[in-house]
Amino acid sequence: MKKCTAILLMSIALLSSISANAREPLDDESLPLPPPPVPDPVAFVVPPGVYYVTDTYVADVVATSDATTTYSTTTVHESTGTYARVIDNVSTGASSAFDGMAFNGRGALTDGQALAGTYYENFVLTAGGYVPVSIVFFQDDSETKRRQTGSSSAAATKAAATSGAAVTSAQPVTSAPVTSAQPVTSAQPVTSAQPGSIIAPPPSSKPQAPIEPVGPTLRAGISLAPDGPTLASAEVLRGRLVQFWPRVFVNDVAVPIQSWRLLSAQPDHISANAGSTQPLTAQWIRMPAPGVSWSLRFEIFSLVAPTERLEAQIAITVRSPALVD
């Protein structure tokens, strides 16, 4: 019955149709041409083996335990938005086409043989595809000295994987900058250190000249936590209350402050213009005009040097949630 009704209605609609008297639009009446199609990012040529980086290089580590010296690499579990792929695995003493191309270099054993490890190539994803930005070498090797003979020869052996080991007294011996990664502080959890290990100088390190004693240096800064690192800039959300802690360091050791005073600011609401141990609480409601940067500038006096006036400044970027087209 329903089908019959539908067929009847369709027939009536078709039989009762009349011409629409349509005409071709003139050239100046035609709709604007649609914009050219944007190339699909996923259609870019993806280098083989590339993957999203979730662990970022921090530093090379040389740790000695008894007669064994381990050469490893510390990483921090952090995504920096970059991509990487393995480009070469090299064994002890073997040469590679990428030797000399890594920004952190490739170390050597005490007998001069190049370390074993892996070369990674880093990429950033741009509108034009994956762009290689750097090469990093993750060293992974060890050697054991023969104590009885006192010989300088060393037996190099491939180091076992040490990921997930607890953090011990091992410290990075190099401080090569991390390309395409955010600054990493010592508070970061690191991996691949050996329990009970001590620091051995890198093979390529030069004898250090004696350091002459210098007087205490005072430094002021602004942090966003009572014991947090001092920051040069901060991104804050509109409407959120943010606390700013003026801090003073003597030879990089935090000392109590006596007082602080706000020299310049643009927040819509602030807790006080001056204070002592309490932080400044600020809130931004308005957004800055395009091209305008805001900053908070403090005058700080410390208890260690009450008469010495210090200044600190932090740049503020106010962001507001918005829909993305």
Binding site: S16, G81, L125, T185, G228
Partner: protein, 149 residues
């Protein structure tokens, strides 16, 4: 006589127009629910990361927050939906990209800021279409993406 013959056709057109209008209204309300949910989700900053680096990183539970608010906002449209608001929100594809730049493998979009993206399938009752021998439930695809700018 002509009126008698054209009446069924007019009724069909009227039902179709009314149902399409109702469907559009539900679509707008569902899209608004999704937009508000993602806006709420990106309005929460990871305070630990802010104190550590000064950078804006979304809170770890941003996707859960978006899902929760999507269900709450969608409940106002519940009578027109063919499934519960909670079930629709639970099955929604909500992804949080707490750091930037980042790449969305589903949409192929690169985000320059921390982002929350929501894609949901919203089944809507369409009894008028059912009377016209069309599906009784029409599924709408809702997309929303928010980022702090």
């Amino acid at each position: 006589m002509t009126t008698l013959l054209a009446l069924p056709l007019l009724l069909v057109v009227l039902v179709g127009v009314l149902e399409l209008g109702a469907l559009r209204a539900v679509a707008y309300r569902a899209a608004a629910a999704a937009d508000l949910a993602t806006l709420v989700a990106v309005g929460d900053q990871d305070q630990i990361e802010l104190a550590r680096s000064g950078n804006l990183r979304l809170a770890a539970d941003a996707a859960d927050t978006a899902r929760d608010y999507f269900a709450r906002n969608l409940s106002a449209t519940a009578p027109a939906l063919a499934a519960s608001a909670t079930a629709i929100a639970a099955s929604a594809d909500i992804a949080s990209f707490p750091t930037a730049p980042s790449f969305d493998p589903r949409t192929g979009v690169r985000y320059e800021r921390p982002t929350v993206r929501l894609i949901a399938l919203v089944p809507v009752k369409t009894p008028g279409f059912a009377a016209l021998l069309m599906p009784a439930v029409t599924t709408l695809t809702i997309r929303s993406t928010s980022s702090p700018r």
